[in-house]
């Protein structure tokens, strides 16, 4: 029972207490769930994709997360980092970039940033797989 608030940066606390882009997207173009309740963290990432000048962009990104302060803040900042970005760029989001954007994470919480990056990648993969199947 260790109080770990002291180990969270102000940025982490800001995203935890005021999460951005929290919620669901109805009829998302891509969606993915990572983590599991036994481990204490479940993240769900929703994406809306738009095409401009033949290029695909992340028009909207939303998340829902069951988890600790780090799990919530990494999902929140990940949505901010990919929103409006070309898909090819969003796909390259790394856990390291997520951590840096948050001003660092305690060692025991690094796996949360891994989950956030994985959620983005899997949601994009979901979009790609749906796209390749003719409707």
């Amino acid at each position: 029972m260790t109080d770990i608030k002291g180990l969270y940066s102000d940025k982490v606390m800001d995203h935890f207490l005021h999460p951005r882009n929290m919620g669901e997207i109805k009829n998302p173009d891509g969606v993915a769930t990572v983590g599991n309740p036994q481990c204490g963290d479940v993240m769900q990432m929703f994406l809306k994709i738009e095409k401009k000048d033949g290029k695909e962009y992340v028009k909207e990104a939303k998340f829902q997360t069951l988890g600790c302060g780090a799990a919530i803040s990494t999902s929140s900042i990940a949505t901010e980092m990919i929103k409006g970005k070309p898909l090819a760029e969003a796909e390259k989001l790394t856990n390291k970039a997520v951590m840096e954007a948050l001003g660092g994470l305690p060692k025991a919480k690094i796996h949360c940033s891994v989950l956030a990056a994985e959620a983005v990648k899997k949601a994009i993969a979901d979009y790609e797989s749906k796209k390749s199947v003719p409707k």
């Binding site: 969270y8 999460p19 997360t65």
Partner: protein
């Protein structure tokens, strides 16, 4: 912002009377109790006076009281000390057997795990869904080689009170039946303000107390060791504390401990009444206002100060931090607060599913808790939980 401290089981504020009692012993009466001059003699007298006071408060003899460094060191000394004494004979391939429970504090559990590595055999007693050990299971676990049994007086996470008297009676009967001598240790750190500490009535051979859990200073523990108990030191370097806890006595901390224990025991009756009433209000209010919540620990056989819950579909650390942002201090046994990947070993031993154990929160009340504070929690908590649950994915 309103500040509400509900983590008294983690630590308590030092009582003003205790601060007063300690104050002459920092700069004015600073002598080393081992010195022969007047400064030293004054310190020695003070330490022995404190020892007598502590002894009489728990119905023990002064020579049965050892002042140590912390609650954890008292636990370590009790267990390792008894085990150390057995070591010389263990070379002759005699097996030594020890018994404890699965829900002990890590100061106990980690010590037993260490002894297991050294070749001792250890049984970890299971508990029921309320966190209670089973006397029949204990009786079955006892063997002719059993040397030590350690079961906590009450659990610090869920507040369940263990049947200490029942255990000591069972051990006595078994000892007579098998013609063996085994020792019974209890970690009583969580109970001082509320439960009977009479070592004769409890029938214990060793008992741990920690000063900062009952209005005393941090950095000092008590270990009661019944006369005749075969125990060796675990640290070395002097004659202090019967040679069992060598090192210069922390005179001000020892004085403060005796004063805090005196006040705690004197006020037990009123503390139990007052705190139980507030805790019941908190438990009833939480269960009524927050859906999908379970109370952990025994519904009746529980410490007056502990209200512990698992909130489904939310994570404990997130609750803790959100409450902290509203000025409320609590604890959680979730994996995220332990630095470990698993949630509280206590909740898991009670059979609570892992995913529910992640949502555990402990409120622990104390001397300064008011009804107004409980009302504030009952106003804030339902909103915090519902806000967090809005974030939880629908399909999990």
């Amino acid at each position: 912002m309103k500040k509400v401290y509900l983590d008294y089981a983690a630590t308590t504020p030092v009582l003003p009377e205790v601060v007063v009692a300690m104050s002459p012993y920092w700069s004015e009466k600073f002598g080393n109790a081992s010195s022969l001059h007047s400064w030293g003699r004054e310190a020695r007298k003070t330490v022995e006076e404190a020892r007598r006071k502590v002894a009489s408060l728990i119905n023990a003899e002064p020579e049965e009281i050892i002042f140590t460094g912390t609650t954890t060191t008292s636990d370590n000394l009790a267990i390792l000390g008894v085990a150390n004494f057995q070591l010389p004979t263990s070379r002759f391939r005699q097996r030594f057997h020890l018994i404890t429970s699965q829900i002990e504090h890590h100061a106990i559990l980690d010590t037993f795990k260490f002894l297991e590595k050294q070749g001792f055999e250890v049984n970890y007693l299971s508990v029921d869904k309320y966190g209670m050990v089973n006397l029949e299971e204990l009786a079955k676990a006892i063997r002719p080689e059993t040397k030590l049994v350690s079961v906590m007086y009450a659990n610090n996470e869920v507040g369940t009170i263990e049947p200490i008297k029942g255990i000591s009676e069972k051990l006595k009967a078994k000892s007579e039946e098998l013609g063996i001598k085994m020792y019974f240790h209890t970690d009583a750190a969580a109970v001082v303000e509320y439960l009977d500490l009479d070592v004769q009535k409890l029938g214990v051979d060793l008992m741990t107390l920690g000063s900062h859990k009952f209005g005393g200073p941090k950095g000092v523990g008590i270990l009661y060791i019944k006369k005749g108990t075969k125990i060796d030191p675990i640290t070395f370097g002097g004659h202090h504390e019967n040679g069992l806890w060598p090192g210069t006595e922390a005179v001000p901390l020892i004085v403060g401990t005796a004063r805090a224990l005196e006040l705690s025991i004197k006020n037990q009756g009123s503390s139990v009444k007052r705190v139980t009433k507030l805790r019941e209000k908190l438990i009833k209010g939480v269960l009524k206002k927050v859906p999908e919540t379970i109370l952990t620990g025994h519904p009746i056989q529980r410490l007056p100060d502990i209200a512990s819950f698992c909130f489904k579909k939310v994570e404990g650390e997130a609750i803790l931090l959100r409450l902290d942002a509203e000025g409320i201090a609590v604890s959680s046994g979730s994996a995220c607060t332990s630095g470990d990947l698993r949630p509280s070993h206590v909740l898991l031993a009670m059979g609570i599913p892992v995913e529910e154990a992640h949502g555990s929160i402990r409120f622990s009340l104390g001397r300064n808790t008011t009804e107004e504070e409980i009302n504030y929690v009952l106003e804030v908590l339902p909103r915090v939980i519902s806000d967090l649950r809005k974030m939880t994915p629908k399909k999990i």
